[in-house]
């Protein structure tokens, strides 16, 4: 499915880039701010970032691809991250995730057809004591089971 991708203008992009220039090590804050503003790091911003910071497109690609949270296209309105680390796997997290994906007909990183939810894997949320754990947008949720997950998804409107 295609989402309505916002088309950030050059002015918007350069305003964000300029705002972070005085920082020491401004690249990561810049990328975060772009993602914050547009839901992803738009490809249109790459050349401007490289030019401003005097780095190459290879270096930028190295940084963006290193961090899984930087996106090259916007996600759904809500992002649900399901922990796949050892403790959560031991507590049935793997099965929980598989069932959810099957139910929604998605693969990892997929977004529901109505554009509401994107499902992503995450490796440890630091909630091992409450495994299996998940995270809905900025909110962490412990002791997740199928019912709890359904409720969360329903709240989100998936």
């Amino acid at each position: 499915m295609t989402l309505a991708t916002p088309h950030p203008t050059e002015t918007e992009i350069s305003a964000i880039i300029e705002a972070h220039l005085p920082l020491e090590g401004p690249l990561l804050p810049m990328l975060h701010a772009l993602q914050e503003a547009f839901g992803h790091v738009p490809a249109a911003a790459h050349a401007a970032i490289c030019d401003t910071l005097n780095i190459t497109k290879a270096e930028l690609h190295g940084v963006i691809s290193f961090y899984h949270d930087f996106r090259d296209a916007p996600a759904g309105r809500h992002v649900v991250k399901i922990c796949r680390a050892e403790a959560c796997q031991a507590m049935g997290g793997a099965a929980l995730a598989e069932n959810l994906l099957a139910k929604l007909g998605l693969d990892w990183h997929g977004t529901t057809r109505n554009g509401v939810v994107t499902i992503e894997p995450v490796y440890c949320l630091g909630l091992c004591a409450c495994a299996p754990a998940a995270m809905v947008d900025d909110r962490v949720v412990g002791r997740v089971d199928a019912a709890k997950l359904d409720k969360l998804l329903a709240e989100a409107g998936a």
């Binding site: 190459t56 497109k57 290879a58």
Partner: protein, 968 residues
């Protein structure tokens, strides 16, 4: 370094020491019970290597700083916990290191097992078989088994395209063959990061990265969607050199297999003079590999020297001598004897009819010192005149004159290592990243470490802003105003009292300085006064001058953008003034450094190629010098200077100059005002062209003598830092003879009685007659690798830095440099200024590089034009445009870019079908006749296709290149 397969030569240690050498106080430690003393800051790995102990390693190599990722080089250090990596651990006094123990052996084996679990076991059919560090290390750690297997039904590797059920492996990526010279095979990659670091630390291009993380980490050229060719990669080969496996591999090795022997020789491209190992199978060249002990390049290379050698075996190369009576006839292949006899008879006949001075020679900066020496000797001792000139006439003759006048030697003052100590660099009229790439990499390394850069150039060259390098000041002057800009810099330094008075008082002529100071202090030289003329903002120029005068060690590097002007010599002198004014001479990190265009420009000048100078820059009018050569050569030498190239052509048009022996230079394409050159050549009765290819000049030749490549002869090249490097014969000449032999045969046909058996004897004669070469011999070069002249009794090891305790001429001389505008002026008909230059992948007239795969980067000359000028003329990017000057016109495609200022257009001269020199005028330097290539008033307009001249020329060239096969 992938050098394991070739046994090291006994005179140089070629082992990979793991990490770079350091300088510092001595530190003594014990490694496996052996005491070893190394400089502070050295890694434990390197210290072990110094003691002869190789610690296993994968991610370390001595051209790169330690990285510590492979964990194979772990060692035990007494009193320290765990097993530190020896590459990242610096030595400490009294340290006790054990490189082998049961525990480290187990760790190394475990690490190797993991590496090999994701690496194909196809060693026997792998292109790096026998030249692979991964293979070597597996052997060194005793790996016998890999226990890791993929889970059932899954694929846990990067190298298998499919699993056993035939399902594709999403982790597998196909080979990237987009670069014409090397391939990138991700399946073989161990992600050691050496290629990425080499691209960053050594080359400074930052074209490579590691994308992803963890198991997903992959080497990536450029951004996500790029391949090697589409990325910023400049194909310097540093990554290929650094790669320990077959991941980045030369295509020639993939095709031919690994080499079995190697010969150290010198690159035949630019004036950097990189040392290479020609790696061979029999008489076949497998690859050229930069030589790590080469003192000019320190193990680095560029796309030309590393890969563009294919011209040596190109089908266009002529291997048989040819003659013809008229240039309208087809060529006839004949024997050497017939060709040389024909040439000798014609030349002697011309002399008999038109006089002794009616013939001459042109030596080449692409030939060896020995060959050049013989060609000028041919003119002086056999022709009996001084009609010898060289292509340095059209590039660096003003350098010879200007530096000779001010300092007393016609050469650069530093070695390339000096750049590592510099704090402020002025680059003026040079584009090192394209013209002198290996030096540019060394410069960029220093700039990344904090040195400041001032660029004076009409064009925004790459150095002005490229990855991690940014010039503090770019002074975009109008072409032709160099003198005004440099004098304005001096004005600021003098009027603001920033000069180094102690240096000037001690080292220079104080009275002359007073005159000079009074001259430059005149308000008419102030940057504010010259701003209108030069187009350089006064404030910026003032800041730049202050930075250079106060920023520490200041070095000036310049190129043909300085010399190829009507005031070329004046600019060279003004640069010398600037260096003396700021006390920037005679120590590392400073100096005046001409970047020579061709590999042996320095040597060609040293060898007496100029019509007024015998070898060693000694004027022919001096009786003592002539007597010296008379005693060695046994003939009287003419005391009158001979003709320069432009004079020869003028005289030819006038009918007084009738015969020319032109070795290894294509004057028709490279010299200005092509139509005038063509007319001169057409008026001659015997033009002998000695070259690899039927070049453009050969269209007007009567005798063609096939030349040998730098791979096929012995000799020496002298690079821009006065370094005399050996060129070694790695294969027999395909044309039958080395070039020095051909010149000797021609001389002997004309009655000389030369009997050189080897170029070393020619060098002995040079040493005998030329004081600055007195200590040079092939034995010395064999022993030391290379020497920088002067090399004589006073300097038996050569002279890396000139003018250390005093100038060669005594007191440094300040010369007043009045700006005089060129006569070439813009006007209503020709409102734009054309300036010319070169590009990384092509070299000079392109005779060599056009015959290699380098054309993928540059297949035609383009005209760079500012968007504003393009819009005025209704031009779009890629349009065919007509470029016209007062001399002529040509057509080429436009490239719209703001690299050039409005009012300035720029092109290269690599392609004969464009013939940029049809446009250039015959204005030249007032002192040396060096042509004014860099300033031509032009107009640009839309066009439908080739000009009439281009069509006529192409037809004439096709006609002139017909060859009749030899009679059976």
């Amino acid at each position: 370094m992938k050098d394991f397969i070739i046994p090291p030569m006994d005179w140089k240690d070629e082992r990979d020491m793991g990490t770079p050498a350091k300088q510092g106080a001595p530190v003594t430690l014990s490694i496996d019970g052996f005491e070893v003393t190394v400089p502070e800051g050295t890694s434990v790995m390197r210290a072990a290597a110094e003691a002869g102990i190789q610690v296993p390693k994968l991610c370390a190599t001595d051209s790169l700083e330690a990285f510590g990722s492979c964990r194979l080089c772990v060692v035990e250090i007494e009193g320290r916990r765990g097993t530190p990596a020896s590459c990242t651990t610096p030595v400490a006094p009294g340290m006790v290191v054990r490189t082998q123990s049961d525990s480290v052996r187990k760790i190394r084996k475990g690490v190797m097992e993991l590496y090999i679990s994701d690496h194909p076991l196809d060693c026997l059919t792998c292109s790096a078989n026998g030249d692979c560090e991964l293979q070597d290390m597996a052997g060194a750690v005793g790996l016998r088994d890999v226990r890791y297997t993929a889970p059932t039904g899954g694929i846990a590797t990067h190298f298998a395209p499919r699993n056993t059920s035939g399902e594709t492996n999403p982790e597998w990526r196909p080979k990237d063959d987009s670069n014409p010279y090397f391939s990138y095979d991700p399946a073989k990659c161990i992600v050691c990061n050496r290629c990425v670091r080499a691209c960053e630390e050594v080359q400074g291009t930052f074209a490579l990265t590691i994308e992803g993380r963890g198991f997903d980490s992959r080497v990536s050229f450029g951004a996500k969607t790029d391949d090697a060719l589409a990325s910023d990669c400049v194909s310097c080969g540093a990554c290929v050199q650094a790669c320990p496996t077959a991941t980045l591999q030369e295509k020639s090795v993939i095709e031919m297999g690994t080499p079995d022997r190697s010969v150290v020789t010198t690159c035949a491209y630019c004036g950097v003079g990189c040392s290479f190992k020609a790696e061979m199978q029999g008489d076949q060249l497998v690859r050229m590999v930069p030589y790590k002990h080469g003192k000019a390049n320190r193990g680095h290379s560029c796309v030309k020297g590393r890969f563009a050698y294919g011209y040596a075996s190109h089908k266009d190369r002529i291997l048989n001598p040819m003659i013809r009576d008229r240039i309208s006839d087809p060529w006839r292949e004949v024997s050497w004897d017939e060709a040389l006899g024909f040439a000798a008879t014609k030349m002697r006949g011309i002399q008999a009819e038109y006089g002794q001075k009616s013939i001459g020679v042109i030596t080449s900066s692409r030939c060896t010192n020995e060959e050049t020496y013989l060609v000028q000797k041919l003119a002086r001792a056999v022709f009996g005149n001084n009609n010898t000139d060289t292509c340095a006439r059209v590039c660096h003759s003003p350098t010879g004159y200007g530096l000779g006048q001010t300092f007393g030697t016609s050469a650069g003052t530093q070695d390339f290592d000096s750049v590592e100590h510099t704090d402020v660099v002025i680059v003026i009229g040079a584009n090192p990243t394209d013209g002198h790439p290996v030096f540019a990499s060394r410069l960029k390394k220093r700039l990344r470490a904090g040195a400041k850069l001032i660029v004076i150039d009409p064009r925004r060259i790459d150095l002005v802003k490229s990855a991690h390098v940014k010039a503090s000041h770019h002074l975009p002057l109008r072409p032709g105003t160099n003198v005004a800009v440099v004098t304005a810099l001096a004005h600021v330094i003098v009027t603001e009292g920033l000069m180094d008075e102690a240096f000037i008082r001690e080292r220079c002529d104080w009275d002359e300085f007073q005159d000079y100071a009074a001259f430059v202090s005149d308000p008419r030289h102030a940057p504010e006064a010259t701003e209108m003329l030069t187009g350089v903002p006064a404030a910026d120029l003032r800041e730049a001058a202050k930075l250079f005068a106060t920023g520490g060690n200041g070095a000036i590097y310049y190129g043909l953008g300085v010399t190829e002007h009507s005031q070329g010599s004046t600019t060279v002198m003004s640069i010398a003034n600037l260096a003396m004014l700021t006390g920037n001479l005679g120590r590392p990190g400073v100096g005046v450094n001409p970047l020579r265009g061709q590999n042996n420009v320095q040597g060609a000048c040293d060898m007496g190629s100029f019509p007024h100078e015998l070898p060693g820059y000694r004027h022919v009018k001096n009786d003592d010098v002539r007597d010296l050569f008379k005693s060695v050569w046994g003939v009287e030498i003419d005391a009158e200077p001979g003709l320069r190239i432009p004079n020869m052509l003028d005289a030819a048009v006038d009918g007084t100059f009738k015969g020319l022996y032109c070795q290894g230079e294509d004057i028709l394409q490279s010299d200005p005002d092509t139509k005038h050159v063509a007319a001169g050549l057409a008026a001659m009765e015997c033009v002998i062209v000695h070259d690899l290819f039927l070049n453009e000049t050969a269209n007007y030749a009567h005798v063609f003598l096939p030349g040998s490549t730098f791979l096929e002869k012995d000799g020496t090249f002298t690079n821009a830092e006065r370094r005399i490097n050996r060129v070694r014969e790695v294969m027999k000449p395909r044309n039958g003879y080395a070039d020095w032999e051909i010149t000797q045969m021609l001389a002997n046909k004309m009655g000389a009685n030369w009997s050189y058996m080897h170029p070393s004897q020619i060098m002995d004669e040079i040493a005998l007659t030329t004081p600055s070469f007195a200590g040079v011999s092939y034995t010395v070069l064999e022993e030391k690798g290379s020497v920088q002249w002067p090399c004589n009794e006073a300097h038996p090891d050569g002279t890396p830095l000139m003018h250390v305790d005093g100038f060669v001429r005594g007191k440094g001389r300040f010369i007043v440099t009045e700006y005089v505008a060129t006569d070439e002026k813009t006007g209503p008909r020709f409102p734009l200024l054309l300036t010319t230059g070169r590009i990384l992948s092509q070299y000079n007239v392109g005779a060599q590089t056009r015959r290699t795969e380098n054309v993928v980067w540059h297949e035609q000359d383009l005209l760079e034009i500012h968007p504003h000028d393009a819009e005025n003329r209704g031009l779009n990017d890629g349009d065919y445009v007509r470029l016209a000057s007062r001399s002529g016109e040509t057509t080429l495609r436009a490239k719209i870019t703001d690299r050039v200022s409005p009012g300035v257009v720029y092109t290269t001269f690599h392609h004969p079908d464009t013939q940029a020199n049809v446009i250039t005028t015959d204005y030249s330097d007032w002192a040396t006749n060096c042509p004014e290539y860099k300033v031509t008033a032009v107009q640009v307009s839309p066009s439908n296709g080739p000009s009439v001249w281009q069509e006529d020329y192409a037809a004439q060239a096709a006609q002139a290149r017909r060859i009749l096969p030899a009679a059976e």
